[in-house]
């Protein structure tokens, strides 16, 4: 068997997270994030997987009183994104995010995708045009919307809106893309489209995805982490986690005895 060493894109080191109010939601999480791979976070509701995901782009900073301890280090530059001296806006420019429920802005399809470029101060219309087209193509929605780029984004279907949100996140060339249960609000066909899209995106960037759907984790991810009560119970190759978990809790969850 040939072992290819995959470079690390990021890793969390002994990460603790305490919500405003004192709830200790993450307890000493260590996890690597390999470059151009899909890592899935699974676990029962309330286990902390979304909390963990939202640490990567410092979303918790939006609400006062939340506290991080430990590090999330990005490679190759060794930046600890949780460091107080690191600007969360810069972090979010490198790590983009797709949410559970499609949340397009009250703007046209075009302006939704151009948003990230505009907030970065890009003014050149030709550059924006090119980037918007590239991102919409990358999100496999270009053919459906190319004739109505200036329609309001709310007129799209739920699955289209989610792909638009992926295009929006793609337009700024992020290094890592976070997906917070991206298909839980979608029907099976739209879900299949998004999953296919994610596996295609793997060629370009590193993906961390939270999912409630174990089949989804098994289908699309390269690595899987099982979390429970704020702790990382087990992490490993997706194939191994689903066929031969070492922890009893993981096995119980995967086989449906629990969760």
């Amino acid at each position: 068997m040939v072992t290819v060493t995959t470079p690390l894109k990021a890793e969390s080191r002994d990460l603790n997270f305490i919500y405003n109010g004192g709830i200790h939601a993450l307890k000493g999480i260590n996890m690597p994030l390999y470059e151009k791979k899909i890592t899935a976070l699974i676990g029962p509701s309330g286990c902390g997987k979304s909390t963990f995901l939202r640490c990567f782009n410092r979303m918790h900073d939006l609400y006062p009183g939340n506290k991080y301890q430990g590090q999330i280090v990005m490679h190759p530059d060794n930046t600890n994104v949780l460091d107080a001296g690191v600007d969360p806006i810069e972090v979010r420019m490198r790590i983009s995010m797709v949410f559970q429920k499609p949340n397009p802005f009250p703007k046209s399809i075009y302006e939704n995708v151009a948003y990230g470029l505009r907030v970065r101060g890009e003014r050149n219309k030709r550059i924006i045009d090119d980037k918007v087209e590239e991102a919409l193509k990358g999100a496999a929605i270009w053919d459906e919307v190319k004739d109505r780029l200036h329609d309001l984004a709310f007129n799209l279907s739920g699955g289209q809106q989610q792909r638009l949100c992926i295009a929006r996140a793609l337009a700024t060339d992020p290094e890592i893309m976070l997906f917070d249960e991206p298909t839980s609000a979608l029907d099976p066909i739209a879900t299949a489209n998004i999953e296919e899209l994610m596996t295609e995106l793997r060629d370009k960037l590193t993906i961390l995805v939270v999912t409630h759907n174990m089949q989804q984790a098994a289908r699309i991810s390269d690595y899987t982490a099982y979390m429970y009560l704020g702790e990382m119970v087990e992490y490993g190759d997706t194939d191994r986690i689903f066929t031969n978990p070492t922890q009893k809790e993981t096995e119980d969850y995967i086989t449906g005895k629990f969760g």
Partner: protein, 315 residues
């Protein structure tokens, strides 16, 4: 057996008739309540219909003596003089000018205030400032009138030499101060109603707080913000006491804020408190003026209605 039957039967019969009686009573109460609710809802409609019909009826008497053409084109409004002129335009110009000054002042300040309160202020600041703003809504307008006459105008005179005691600028600014709370408070409510997920989406794209407020939250709340503007316009156009006290009650066809002027409402109050006999043309003229005022606010409301529809965002 006979007695046994009776014992068995009687309670059932009683029960059924009892239930029927209850149902009948319940229906009656339901209908009664429904009628009361309808009455309450219709009271506003009846009032509106009554006001409009009286305005139309009384204006009709007025227009029997004054032609509509004169009413709209004459540049003088002097119904109380021997040489009476009935041109509404001087009153319209006064109304438009004071309202425009007020809105030029209140819309920027109120909108920026709403953005600050909704997107930037800490919970504590918001919970302190908002009640104070809403308290401002409750200050009687007569107080604002003297505020304009005795404080704002003298203050303005220090910067603008030659500004007469009675002018439109001072009252305009004061009306602006009066309507700021409406704009700020209603707009803030609309902005707070924008779902957090939309803000998160913007922050996740690397936007700053200011960019999120201006580029995402404000457009998402635009229909509520426009509703706030419409409310403010109607208030500014209909404001009476401030202009009656501080603008001079001189119908002048001018849009110059430095001039004294009268607005439609100020004129109505002047005549209504004077001793003109009922039925005289001078008296009837206030109904015609009132009709114009009502048409103006109606136009603004309709405009607002359609702009809101156009900008309405479903999220």
């Amino acid at each position: 057996m006979n007695t046994a039957n009776q014992v068995l039967k009687k309670p059932m019969e009683l029960e059924i008739s009892d239930r029927l009686a209850k149902k009948f009573r319940r229906n009656l109460i339901e209908r009664g309540i429904e009628f009361l609710l309808l009455l309450a809802a219709m009271s506003a409609v009846f009032t509106t219909v009554a006001i409009v019909s009286i305005l139309l009826y009384e204006s009709y008497t007025f227009f029997e003596h004054v032609s509509l053409w004169d009413f709209l084109t004459d540049t003088q409004w002097t119904p109380l003089f021997a040489d009476a002129h009935y041109g509404i335009m001087p009153l319209v110009s006064g109304t438009v000018t004071t309202a425009a000054i007020a809105l030029a002042f209140a819309i920027p300040v109120g909108t920026i205030g709403a953005i600050y309160l909704s997107e930037f202020a800490s919970h504590r600041v918001r919970e302190t400032v908002k009640p104070i703003l809403e308290l401002l809504e409750g200050v009687p307008t007569i107080v604002f009138g003297y505020f304009a006459l005795l404080l704002v105008t003298p203050l303005l005179q220090k910067f603008i030499p030659g500004l007469p005691t009675f002018n439109m600028l001072g009252p305009g600014i004061v009306i602006g101060i009066m309507v700021i709370p409406y704009i700020a408070s209603v707009s803030e409510d609309a902005m707070r109603a924008v779902p957090m997920s939309m803000r998160e989406g913007s922050y996740a794209m690397g936007a700053t707080r200011f960019q999120t407020a201006i580029r995402v939250v404000t457009p998402a709340a635009i229909s509520g913000i426009i509703a706030a503007y419409i409310l403010a316009i109607s208030r500014a156009v209909g404001e009476t006491m401030v202009v009656a006290i501080a603008a001079g009650q001189q119908p002048n066809l001018t849009f110059n804020p430095m001039d004294s002027a009268a607005t439609i409402t100020a004129y109505i109050v002047q005549v209504a408190m004077g001793d003109l006999p009922h039925g005289s043309i001078g008296y009837q003229s206030i109904f015609a003026a009132g009709l114009v005022l009502m048409l103006m606010t109606l136009t603004f409301n309709l405009l607002g209605h359609f702009t809101r529809k156009k900008f309405r965002e479903a999220y």
